[in-house]
């Protein structure tokens, strides 16, 4: 007797927990707004790394400038893309 009771209780609890988002609310479009991916940290990491290479003499000034500008340009491009997706440009 105890097993069916335990099983029923678990099944009911799980079903309520899972179906709750579908029971109460109206149908609404999913929030498809993508958060900014962790590019900021990644770009900062890459720039920090580049600075270290340059300051220890592993990169020429010309390559350093070019790579640094490229990283910043890519970061800016990603941010613009992110802003377009979030509608940030109009706000």
């Amino acid at each position: 007797m105890i097993v069916p009771l335990v099983v029923f209780t678990i099944a009911a609890a799980v079903a309520i927990y899972v179906l709750l988002p579908l029971l109460g609310g109206r149908l609404r479009e999913a929030d498809t707004v993508p958060a900014m991916p962790p590019q900021i940290d990644a770009t900062a990491d890459a720039l920090r790394d580049l600075d270290l290479d340059w300051s220890t003499g592993k990169l020429s000034d010309a390559d350093y400038e070019r790579l640094r500008a490229q990283l910043l340009r890519e970061d800016e491009s990603r941010r613009r893309t992110g802003a377009r997706r979030t509608g940030g440009e109009s706000s």
């Binding site: 179906l19 498809t32 958060a35 790394d49 600075d51 300051s55 400038e65």
Partner: protein, 673 residues
């Protein structure tokens, strides 16, 4: 009750995972927030059901509920509490449940971690649900650990004695944390392909997950090697056994991935390659499980011979690979376009860090091909000719040695090369000192009498790589010292502000230790055998081994015979070792308990081979130089990963010395964003 609740939980897990997949897929298709939320909750519920099943099985083991077939097969009343709990993964069905438990943990962690990334989250969740469905079905049908046993026997058969060792108790959880951990980056790659988010955002997210899984895999491999070393009594730690190889292959591809993503992050190249590597890595973890479960290859580790289950894994592997690589082909043009628009997919110079990383990837992939072919060769020959032909360790050692040496060389070269191109001046400035150290090391080691060319090359290259790491630290710290920082602060600041790079160097140092340990122990191992009576000695290299007599002991279910041996060196006693032979009464199975005296220089490894009624003991003594370096390397690697993965401070970094050139934009503009 335990069995019934466990069975229910596993059966309920199937519809829950199916519902989660459908809800998530429909939520993605119709952009329906309620369905997506229900899918997320289904992930939690699936995890809870698997946890409930796991709890029931653990309770069954601890209460010795022999009405559950698995409990009766993997435990017995005299078994210690520790090994009774470890018996959870000591048998096929329980091991699969452990896989599901770990998957449940990763699903819960991933669905929470990626909540801030709604473009990728549904794809990740749906992909993980596909994996969850497979394991739920398997656990509810062919591999159900709650299959009842009627009538229950008075006692169980007990855990396989070979598995009653702390290293083996810890080996499967570590390995599975690595194997299953690869499912999250796999799911991220699939999600990125589905959502057409093919810039490097997904690899930035995946990197830490791969790093964590890679670390567990490394530790799992080392625990397995340690178990082999201390339990199997053959004196080695790696035999190129199919099951070892199965775990080694995803390690190789994951290592390649951890390097190649840097090219994508820095230069916008190899986007497709990185997706392929991670698909392959997870595919290889499933392939490895197929090898272990199917019984198509003989192995000391394979504890199941169930072709039907093996072929289910093979079918699942086919679904994963066809689905994954099909998606990759579908998005091929998007991936090509995902590279930075102003960076053509080309290498500016052969002498650049990009080239070093590319070569590194080629070596790792070559390693996978070598190991894969050698592993499946017996099955292939049997399929085509009816005769099983094993290639043996000689093939693996000969084929892998140049690959390992190539990787070792690149470990030194890569970090010293700049991105894009290196000038001759940079090369001479960067390599003169480390190359000199390598040559000097070769000369000194050669003069000391070590002449084996392979080992000599490994030691010299290790010295070269160590010198490159030291040079990197020295130069970086020197830049900070010039800014007025005290030496300790300069060092700490350098390591803390560049965690990823210097964490990587710490990992490289750990790999160095391991390679030196492998080279030393495999090339310079010596063996001595002596049959002695009480009070007699025999010489084993620099050691004299004096047999003091037998020791007898009993533990529940085990008879123990040991040989007490006093170890002499330089005319004085330095240790007493007791190699033992355990005899498990219920299983009728003997097992070695070797005795090891381990130092930085070498291991003295003692085995009680046999003994006679008239009091003679035959002892086998093996001397393995530098084995402890192998295990120390594992600890260093774990510390390196911890350092690299530790969250960095969000403070804006500044150029380490002079101000940036005029054209450079201050880094604050990004970091502060």
């Amino acid at each position: 009750v335990l069995g019934e609740v466990g069975r229910f939980a596993l059966q309920a897990a199937i519809p829950m995972a199916v519902f989660g997949l459908i809800a998530t897929a429909c939520g993605m298709r119709w952009r329906h927030a309620g369905l997506l939320a229900a899918g997320q909750r289904a992930a939690d519920a699936w995890a809870a059901l698997i946890a409930l099943a796991a709890g029931m099985l653990m309770a069954g083991l601890l209460t010795r509920d022999f009405s559950i077939r698995f409990v009766a097969a993997a435990s017995e009343s005299t078994q210690s509490l520790f090994y009774t709990a470890a018996a959870f993964w000591g048998g096929h069905d329980g091991a699969l449940l452990l896989w599901a438990v770990i998957l449940a943990g990763y699903i819960v962690a991933a669905t929470r971690r990626f909540r801030g990334h709604p473009a990728l989250l549904p794809g990740v969740t749906a992909t993980l649900f596909v994996v969850a469905i497979f394991f739920s079905v398997l656990l509810s049908t062919a591999s159900n650990p709650f299959t009842p046993l009627t009538p229950p026997p008075p006692d169980g058969r007990g855990l396989n004695p070979l598995l009653r060792n702390p290293w083996m108790a810890a080996h499967p959880p570590m390995l599975y944390l690595g194997f299953v951990g690869m499912s999250v980056p796999f799911a991220l790659a699939v999600a990125a392909l589905l959502a057409r988010r093919l810039d490097d955002a997904w690899i930035v997210l995946a990197r830490r997950w791969v790093l964590v899984a890679w670390t567990f895999l490394t530790i799992g491999l080392l625990f397995g090697a340690k178990w082999s070393y201390v339990v199997l009594g053959w004196g080695g730690y790696w035999a190129w056994d199919p099951v070892e190889n199965a775990a080694f292959m995803p390690w190789l591809t994951a290592t390649a991935f951890l390097h190649s993503i840097q090219i994508q992050e820095r230069r916008g190249m190899l986007a497709s390659w990185n997706v392929a590597l991670i698909l392959l890595t997870f595919g290889l973890t499933i392939f490895g499980t197929f090898l272990v479960r199917s019984g198509i290859l003989s192995s000391v580790h394979a504890f199941a011979n169930a072709p039907a289950i093996g072929y289910q894994f093979l079918g699942f592997l086919a679904v994963l690979l066809i689905g994954g690589f099909g998606l990759l082909a579908w998005r091929w043009e998007d991936l090509r376009a995902a590279g930075s628009p102003d960076v053509a997919e080309r290498i500016d110079s052969v002498i650049s860090r990009e080239t070093a990383y590319l070569a590194n990837n080629l070596f790792f992939v070559a390693g996978v091909v070598v190991v894969f072919l050698g592993t499946i060769f017996p099955a292939l020959t049997e399929a085509f000719s009816g005769v099983r032909v094993n290639v043996g360790p000689t093939y693996f050692n000969r084929a892998m040695a140049p690959i390992a040496i190539g990787i070792l060389l690149l470990m030194g070269i890569g970090p010293l090369l700049p991105w894009r191109r290196a000038t001759p001046e940079q090369l001479s400035r960067n390599f003169a000192w480390p190359a000199s150290v390598g040559v000097l090391a070769a000369l000194v080691i050669g003069a000391a009498g070590l002449r084996d060319p392979g080992a000599l090359l490994v030691f010299a290259l290790a010295a070269f790589v160590l010198a490159t790491i030291a040079l990197e630290v020295w130069r970086g710290a020197a830049v900070r010292r010039r800014r007025g920082e005290a030496p300790p602060a300069a060092l700490l600041g350098l390591l803390s502000n560049n965690r990823r790079r210097f964490g990587g160097y710490i990992v490289h140092f750990g790999i160095l230790l391991m390679l030196v340990g492998i080279a030393g122990s495999s090339e310079y191992a010596t063996q001595f055998v002596g049959t002695v009576r009480q009070g007699e000695r025999f010489q084993a290299g620099a050691y004299a081994l004096e047999f003091l007599g037998f020791s007898e002991a009993q533990q529940p279910g085990i008879d123990i015979t040991g040989a007490v041996v006093r170890v002499w060196a330089g005319g004085r006693p330095i240790a007493t070792l007791v190699p033992q032979r355990f005899f498990y009464r219920a299983q009728g199975q003997p097992m070695h308990q070797v005795a090891i005296r381990s130092t930085v220089r070498e291991d003295l490894y003692l085995i009680l081979s046999e003994w006679t009624a008239d009091g003679r003991a035959t002892l086998r003594a093996l001397i393995h130089p530098l084995v402890s370096w192998l295990w120390s390397g594992g600890v260093v690697i774990a510390l390196g990963v911890l350092w690299a993965a530790w969250p960095a401070r969000r403070a804006s970094p500044q150029p380490a010395s002079d101000p940036a050139p005029k054209a450079a934009v201050p880094i604050d503009s990004v970091a502060g964003g």
